[in-house]
């Protein structure tokens, strides 16, 4: 073959190759289009609207003027009232996350070390509460925790006196832990299941005690599950609205109720919007940081 024809065939092949790549990219795009459209319409656009409102001005009558753009709403977030609400919400969400972690880890470990049948049964059991309406479950907790309710009767019967947990912080934590525990269990279960049991044996063979093995080998290797579960519990706990209202009695304002109040009662949409946006941004950034660093370590 002459150099010219060789060059020609090479060029034709190169063109065919590029064409195939292009068509494959196009096919991927078409397949992703429905979910992409969904995200734009129901997530990105509303987010932009919230962002726009956060720079708007509240008029003296309580309506929102989409003019006169300013950062007043963001300045208001520095005020002690808002700061207290944020601190309170963060503490509550941290406690909820921690309790979930402590409860879920042993359970996930237990699950992951059972036979296939048992572990499937246990995981279904974890999912069952999702099949009941969230509000109904919160009302059920109201009955359980109320004065004269089953828990109270029990503590009375064993001589500890009446307990009235309802409308306390404890009740809110109980409700949140109950609601979000599965989100902690599932990622933990997945990472424990992936853990190579021989590493535990190796650690023990190398003179590590049980707690040392947990701290040096098991925990670091299941950290992706711990972090994923913690994000999945912490984020909704921060913005929880229904549970604090129903089980906390709305006594102490948390972020969720504060935002609702800003929109519905105080009619200060810019502040509600700015708070929503900041909350969202903080969560997003911390999640991205986690996945970035996770990608490098594991």
């Amino acid at each position: 073959m002459s150099d010219a024809t060789l060059e020609q065939s090479r060029r034709a092949l190169g063109e065919a190759e590029r064409q195939r790549e292009r068509s494959e990219r196009r096919r991927g795009f078409i397949l992703a289009l429905p979910s992409f459209a969904y995200m734009v319409i129901f997530f990105a656009i509303p987010l932009v609207i919230v962002l726009v409102y956060s720079f708007a001005t509240r008029t003296s009558t309580g309506s929102t003027a989409l003019s006169d753009w300013n950062l007043d709403a963001y300045r208001k977030l520095g005020e002690p009232i808002v700061r207290n609400v944020v601190v309170r919400s963060v503490i509550l969400a941290l406690i909820t996350t921690l309790v979930c972690l402590v409860v879920a880890y042993p359970f996930a470990w237990f699950c992951a070390t059972r036979s296939a049948l048992t572990r499937n049964l246990l995981l279904v059991a974890v999912m069952i509460p999702f099949w009941t309406n969230f509000l109904v479950r919160n009302y059920a907790w109201r009955i359980l925790l109320s004065a004269g309710g089953p828990i109270s009767s029990f503590t009375e019967a064993i001589g500890l006196g009446e307990t009235n947990i309802l409308f306390t912080k404890t009740a809110v934590v109980i409700g949140l832990v109950y609601a979000y525990l599965p989100f902690m269990i599932l990622p933990l279960y997945a990472s424990i299941d992936r853990l190579d049991r021989r590493l535990v044996e190796a650690s023990s063979d190398l003179y590590a005690s049980g707690p040392q093995t947990f701290r040096r080998v098991v925990l670091p290797l299941t950290m992706p599950g711990v972090i994923a579960g913690s994000i999945l519990v912490f984020v909704p706990s921060m913005g929880a609205y229904v549970t604090p209202e129903l089980l906390g009695g709305g006594k102490e304002t948390l972020l969720g109720s504060y935002i609702v109040t800003q929109f519905l009662t105080a009619r200060n949409w810019p502040v509600g919007a700015s708070l929503s946006f900041v909350l969202m941004a903080v969560m997003l950034v911390s999640t991205i940081i986690y996945f970035r660093s996770g990608g490098k370590n594991l």
Partner: protein
């Protein structure tokens, strides 16, 4: 030579198992094993998968607790102790290196767990890493190492603790052939250098023969025979051992007295004196006849006085350095491996031949 099961405990033994059994539910994984492994010995537990060799190793390492029996390491009973309370370390199959730690941290793990001080840890880790020729790789993660390098790190991680006994679970199984042969040599060298008792488990008879001072062959939870590689090859006492280590022909017969066997076709042959523990006179036995120890010759060419059998060649397989003949006797077929040399006569299918052997070339085995 088999270990007499009733012998007294030898206080100098590195590892001593007396009547050790392990049951999983209703399965007997290890069945009354008696075994003594000497200080500084390179010992192989050899057997097919599921024979109980790995379970035996795991019991010595403390990863399984024996169901019955006594297990001592240098005289101390360790049966119920967890792995972290035993002076042994294990090189795991597939190495089980900690993926989230560097090579140096992997090697230092055992010392840190035992709170050895920093300076000593650092120097011992460096020493162990250079012992296995991994210097310069301290900061790599296990995932960045080849199979052979991971194997070396696993060795360093165990040896740095100066265990009294090092256990190795199929140490070379994950490596490809060429690397396996290299590592065999290195492992042997290393064991001589450190002078620690090595106990390793393998299903590869060649590996066991090449590496170990002594071999114990296991099957179905029982320890069948223990001996040097030569003893195991030359004088197997059990048909399974003769079959598992090398290849063999088995001629059925009856032991008439200590050194005479009457084969199934009525031929009487002389055999090396048979230990009463293997078979008593009058019992049914098998004679193990290694293919390369049988001579093949034209009829009437067998030397005077040697045991011989006549037959006809039924198949010939050329293997390059040797030729394998299948010779049909009137009651069985015998495999014969002859050298391929220009000065030796080559037999063809259908030739009438005589098979003969020296009296000491065979072994009487339990059927």
């Amino acid at each position: 030579m088999s270990e007499p099961p009733g012998s007294d405990l030898n206080p100098a033994a590195a590892v001593s198992l007396r009547g050790i059994s392990k049951f999983f539910d209703d399965v007997t994984a290890v069945d009354h094993v008696d075994l003594e492994i000497g200080d500084g010995e390179f010992f192989a537990l050899l057997g097919p998968s599921g024979c109980g060799k790995t379970t035996t190793l795991r019991m010595i390492g403390g990863l399984e607790i024996p169901s019955e029996g006594s297990l001592r390491i240098f005289g101390d009973e360790v049966g119920p102790l967890p792995p972290n309370k035993r002076p042994v370390n294990t090189v795991f199959q597939n190495y089980a290196l900690f993926p989230h730690m560097s090579v140096a941290d992997n090697v230092a793990f055992g010392l840190r767990m035992r709170k050895v001080d920093r300076a000593e840890t650092a120097s011992r880790v460096a020493q162990a890493i250079s012992l296995v020729r991994m210097a310069g790789m301290e900061n790599r993660r296990p995932a960045q190492l080849s199979g052979g390098q991971q194997q070396r790190v696993a060795l360093a991680r165990a040896l740095v603790n100066r265990p009294k006994v090092l256990l190795l679970d199929e140490p070379l199984a994950a490596l490809d052939l060429k690397l396996r042969q290299e590592m065999q040599f290195e492992l042997k060298q290393l064991q001589r250098e450190v002078g620690i008792t090595f106990v390793f488990v393998t299903h590869d008879q060649e590996e066991a023969l090449a590496l170990s001072d002594r071999i114990g062959v296991m099957n179905e939870g029982r320890l069948l025979q223990v001996g040097t590689p030569e003893e195991m090859y030359d004088a197997p006492v059990d048909r399974f051992v003769a079959d598992f280590i090398g290849r063999s022909n088995f001629l059925a017969g009856t032991l008439e007295d200590v050194s005479t066997v009457c084969l199934a076709n009525g031929t009487r042959i002389r055999v090396p004196a048979v230990d009463a523990e293997i078979a008593a006179p009058g019992s049914t036995i098998q004679v193990s006849l290694r293919p390369e120890r049988v001579m093949i010759a034209e009829e009437s060419a067998a030397p005077e006085g040697a045991a011989s059998l006549s037959g006809r060649v039924s198949a010939v397989t050329f293997l390059g350095n040797s030729i394998v003949y299948h010779v049909g006797l009137d009651w069985m077929t015998v495999e014969v491996e002859a050298d391929h040399r220009p000065d030796l006569r080559r037999h063809a299918v259908g030739d009438d031949v005589v098979l003969w052997w020296r009296d000491d070339a065979i072994a009487v085995v339990r059927p």
